[in-house]
Amino acid sequence: MQFKSMIISNIEVSPGYFKMRMTAPPAVRSATPGQFIMVRVRDAIDPLLRRPFGIFDLGTFATAYTDCGTQTYFEILYKVVGKGTEMLSTLHQGDHLDILGPLGKGFMPGDPSGEKILVGGGVGMAPLYYLAKEMVKTSKVRLFAGGRNKEDILCITEFERLGVETYVSTDDGTLGASGLVTEVLEKHLSESIDNKTIFACGPFPMLRAIAAIAGRHDIPCQVSLEAYMACGVGACLGCVMKGRNHSNETPDYRCVCKDGPVFDYRDLQWD
């Protein structure tokens, strides 16, 4: 779907990290956690391409006008890393954005009786909030949140308010445990892996480490990937990852935009 959103709010939640809330058509409510949108930052050629962002949260609120009933909104949580996100951060309430989405394949919740282990690295936390919100309705949810320093640890209070048990770690020890999030995770799993499923989002090296952990412990694991994207709809083949059966003779590429961004880690090659 392609639609115009109006910005409701756009606030800096941690230095360099912003949360933007936008209006959306009601159909967006059917988005599954892990799906993403593509934002046209400006109606100009600079930046040229749309920028992809995970859906952080989604819901409705009652409008002030009784005739209008409720308004659907969604939120993105983004980090300012370059030109496009820089420009996004300067937008105000009332500004409009051209949006494509919800796009791609989201997380598969699986058996509700199982325990859900969410692992987020930095802004990789973004799509996990909406996932957690859905999963706490039926399941036990834990969040392992990692970052380089305390500024990278986002929205922990929001997760806790959902009833999620949180485990924070930072590379420099400025918040939570000191070290990599994968170390904390590994330690936790070494205690018990019973009926647990991992849902991870973050930088590629973190995801690779988690895939290795999942492999070692043989527990189900879904990862949400990032890639340079142009189209977002599976047409340009810019965003591909090597699939399980890939070889040069039998290409098995998966589009992060269309076949992902969420994948069962066993469907990909991790070299």
Binding site: Q2, H246, P251
Partner: protein, 305 residues
Amino acid sequence: MGKPDLSVEVAGIKLRNPVMTASGTFGYGKEFADYLDLEKIGAIITKGLSIRPKAGNPTPRIVETPGGMLNAIGLQNVGIDAFIQEKLPFLRTVNTPVIVNLYGNTLEEYGELAEKLDKLPEVAGLEVNISCPNVKQGGIVFGTDPNAAYEVVSLVRESTIKPLIVKLSPNVTNVVEMANACVDAGADALSLINTLTGMAIDLQKRRPILANMTGGLSGPAIKPVALRMVWQVAQAVKVPVIGIGGIMTATDALEFMLAGATAVQVGTANFLDPSAAQTIAEGMETYLEENGIADVKELIGALIT
């Protein structure tokens, strides 16, 4: 005045309007079906097809540049057999001409592929991408040498009776010379331009951003070069010319027609706006209406110089 006539004919293919989608930027059409009405555009040109499935290049494959983008997809595609099985059935249901863009790594592959495509009734025409290195001849690019181009186009011409469009590379000293060689070899129409070869570098990592090091530049940045080449070629050849390169709006498209293009292709714009091709076609209609022009064909080559 009634509705203006937007129809054009290219290489014997009748188009309801001059707006086609450029190869590699529109998948196999289906990917965009949710965003526009595929029966409101002139033609669908599919992703470059080869005889066997092709893995393409490692990632990163795309990067944004000022006013444009580089891609080094490496012509990843499913190959002719999977194309027939998986992609054609959907395209068959769409009442819009389907033009298949094709390439080979050797002369023979071009011929073989054209022969196979010749048999498919769903295929309205072929667009031959000659911007590929000839693996057998030490990697010399078919599309930058008039003799090699003549050879490959001749072979394709012998292998099919379908309308034959040849797509020209802009990475040449003399595009008119290339155009003439292709027409002499039997091209029914020419499309241009393919991408300009470019590069992007990550200063911090000290590496090329694209895994392939270089890639093809497309988007608004290349429009002036494309317009110039279309103008030069349209003056020199008798066959219809299809204008490609940085077309984002109806105005852009009509400028290409003034320069001599009979039709246009929309590429990178599909990424910015998946309904771009339809929006551009509709914008052309509005322009004609507002300016009292009954037939878009009046604008072809109508540049006053």
